[in-house]
Subunit: 237 residues, 2 copies
C-alpha cells in the first residue's frame, strides 16, 4: 500500500523528517500536496469531518484508511515498517523519546525567527528575534547538540545513534545539522568543534546511497526563508 | 512493579500530566523528587552515564530497568498499562497524536511568559511577553481550544474524547482547562462560551472519584508562578 504524505509544497519544514525516512527506505510514496490540485486535497482533509480524525496541522500521512499527524507519531508508525527502528518495545520508546527531543529542538529553532507569533511576519518581530537568537546561540543550540553528541560518543562505534543500523533518528539529526549549517553558519562553526560525532553522523547519513540520490534529486526542496531553518544573517552574528 | 516519577518537586509542570494518569488509575507510584534526597537522585540520573539512556529533561519515569522521558512518550507507555488507552494500534496512535498536539499547546502556553529564553527570568522578557500574550489570546488559545472542542462535539456522546472511557488525553485536557483558568481567567472566560464541550469534559474528569480525591489531597501541588500556567494579570488583559 502506497504512503501518501501531505505537507506544504514549497518548504522542507517538518515534512522533511518524514520524507527522509520514506526516501532512505526506498518506500513508494506520493508527496500529494506537490501534485496538481494536491494542496486543496490537503486542506479538504484538514477541514474534513471530525469523525475522520482531522489533524491539527500538517504534516500528515495517509496509509490506507489511516490518517496520522504529528511528525514523531508518523515516524513511530513508519519506523518498524521501513526498517528504520529496532524491534524491542524499550528500544522503540527510546528512539521515539529522542525524536520528541528533536521535535522540541525544531520548535525552538523555528521560534528564533518567530518569538512573538507564528502568524506574524518575521519583519514584525525582528527585534525580539535578535534577542531570542542570542539566547539560542549561547544556550540552547550547544545544549541540544552536546546532548546528542554525547549519546553518539558513548555508542558502540557503529556510527549510527543506536549502533550499526540507520534509524529515523539518524535521518532527523542529519536534517538538523544540515539545517543549522544553512541557518546559522557562523554559530554552528563555533559549536561544531565540540560535536565531532554529530558532524560525522551527518556525513555518514548523507553518504547512504538512497539518501545521497534523494539529496541530488528535484524531490529535495532547497532550504529557504519560509521554512524552519532560515538564513537571516542578523540572527547569526 | 511500582512506578517512579521524577520531576521538579515544587511545580505541577509537565509532570502533572503523568501524575494525573497515575492517580486516576489508582496506580502505585513514588513521586521521587518530592521525597527526602529525591532531587539529587533525579539529577544523578540525568547526568548519568550515556549507556543508561539519560533523559534530556524531566519528567521521566522509572519502571523496573526502563527509564522513559518525554511526557507524551511516558503516557504512550502507561496508557494501556493503566487502562487509559484503547487497544487497537490505530486508536492508540490517534490518542498519542492528540497528546502531542496538547504538548505543542503546552509549549506555547509556557512561551507566553518566556518568549525570549527559558533560562531568563520573566522580568527580563516582560515586554516581549506582553506582545506574545496578545497574539496567544487572540489567535492560538481559541485555535487550540476549538480544535479539541470540535472533536468532543462530534463524539459519540460518551462525554470523554474517545467515547465512554476515560483516557490520558481527557486527563490532560482537564489539566489544560484548569491551568488556563488559573493563568488567563479573563481570556478563558471570553473563549469558554465557544467551547462548552471542553468545559463539560473538565467537569466530568474532575468528578471522577480518584481524580477528585487527588485534587483535594496534598499530593496536588497548587498552581504557582514557577510552573507552566502562571497568573500574571498584565498578560491576561
Amino acid at each position: 500500500m502506497i504512503y501518501e504524505l501531505y505537507y506544504w509544497p514549497e518548504i522542507q519544514g517538518r515534512g522533511e523528517f518524514v520524507r527522509l525516512a520514506l526516501e532512505a527506505a526506498g518506500a513508494q510514496y506520493r508527496d500529494v500536496a506537490r501534485e496538481a490540485k494536491g494542496l486543496s486535497a490537503m486542506m479538504a482533509l484538514m477541514e474534513g469531518k471530525s469523525d475522520q480524525r482531522p489533524p491539527f496541522a500538517p504534516p500528515f500521512l495517509k496509509h490506507g484508511n489511516l490518517i496520522l499527524a504529528q511528525t514523531a507519531n508518523i515516524l513511530l508508525y513508519l519506523g518498524p515498517r521501513l526498517n528504520l527502528a529496532p524491534d524491542e518495545e524499550a528500544d522503540r520508546l527510546w528512539l521515539h523519546q529522542l525524536q520528541l527531543t528533536i521535535e522540541d529542538f525544531v520548535k525552538e529553532i523555528h521560534d528564533v525567527h518567530h518569538p512573538i507569533g507564528s502568524g506574524l511576519y518575521y519583519e514584525e518581530q525582528q527585534e525580539e528575534a535578535r534577542r531570542r537568537a542570542a539566547d539560542f546561540r549561547d544556550e540552547r543550540l550547544p545544549k541540544f547538540l552536546r546532548y546528542f553528541d554525547r549519546l553518539l560518543e558513548s555508542g558502540d562505534g557503529g556510527g549510527f545513534l543506536t549502533g550499526q543500523s540507520l534509524t529515523y533518528v539518524d535521518l532527523s539529526l542529519f536534517q538538523i545539522m544540515a539545517g543549522l549549517r544553512y541557518a546559522f553558519p557562523k554559530a554552528i562553526k563555533r559549536t561544531a568543534v565540540d560535536v565531532d560525532a554529530l558532524v560525522a553522523l551527518h556525513d555518514l547519513v548523507a553518504a547512504q546511497p538512497p539518501v545521497s540520490a534523494y539529496l541530488q534529486s528535484p524531490r529535495r526542496l532547497p532550504f529557504n526563508e519560509a521554512g524552519i531553518f532560515r538564513f537571516y544573517p542578523e540572527l547569526d552574528s
